[in-house]
């Protein structure tokens, strides 16, 4: 595809359920990022992969959040035992270069609502 795709686009989870959010980056992009965007706020960094290596997970808010990119392409963000404060839009972005700050292209996001 031409851009970053994410699925599902919308997810409603009951508090305590586990969820998995998928990101398909632009083909050939080395770097992949996850951000969390609360309503009316700017995106906040969660974690970053270069190929299959998770180089920075400093933004993950708790050990309930886990991300993986096992083959260096598709990535999954998993949230265990969801809480209401996890309700947000989860954005995935990819970038072609790995070593320097460069253009990041965002997907449409997954809107997670925890009830």
């Amino acid at each position: 595809g031409a851009g970053v795709s994410q699925s599902p686009r919308y997810k409603v989870a009951k508090r305590g359920q586990d969820v998995a959010l998928r990101c398909d980056p632009i083909s050939g992009h080395v770097s992949l990022f996850w951000y969390q965007q609360a309503l009316g706020q700017g995106p906040e960094f969660l974690t970053y992969f270069q190929n299959e290596a998770q180089l920075d997970k400093s933004g993950l808010p708790s050990d309930r959040f886990f991300a993986e990119r096992p083959e260096g392409s598709v990535s999954t963000l998993k949230i265990q035992r969801t809480q209401q404060e996890d309700s947000a839009v989860y954005l995935c972005a990819s970038s072609i270069l790995g070593a320097i700050s460069y253009e990041q292209y965002f997907g449409p996001g997954t809107r997670l609502t925890v009830t």
Partner: protein, 110 residues
């Protein structure tokens, strides 16, 4: 600690006018400063970006002005159009990780 501060929170401009959004940053290690445009229900879209070795960059109707000594940068949208109505985010980065401002909701009145 808010590393990137953006103002104003909201802005209303008449069609054909100039829209100006400002950002200030704290970390002098930042080396990449992009601006993103976001429409409701969509992901942020990269508009224009600058590195600290230049003071201005222009792409079409969009211009970034960068003041390294003041640690400030701004987005100017010339000849603003109703289709420019969206939320705009500035950001800064040093090692891939983007730090975003709080966003500016821009409305262009026809």
């Amino acid at each position: 600690q808010q590393q990137v501060k953006q103002s104003p929170q909201s802005l209303i401009v008449q069609k054909g006018g100039i829209s100006i959004i400002n950002c200030a940053y704290e970390n002098t290690a930042f080396d990449y400063f992009p601006w993103y445009q976001q429409f409701p229900g969509k992901g942020p879209a990269l508009l224009i970006a600058i590195r600290p070795d230049v003071s201005e960059k222009k792409e079409g109707r969009f211009t970034i002005s960068f003041n390294k000594s003041a640690k400030q940068f701004s987005l100017h949208i010339m000849d603003s159009q109703p289709g420019d109505s969206a939320t705009y985010f500035c950001a800064a980065s040093k090692t891939q990780k983007l730090v975003f401002g709080q966003g500016t909701r821009l409305t262009i009145n026809p």
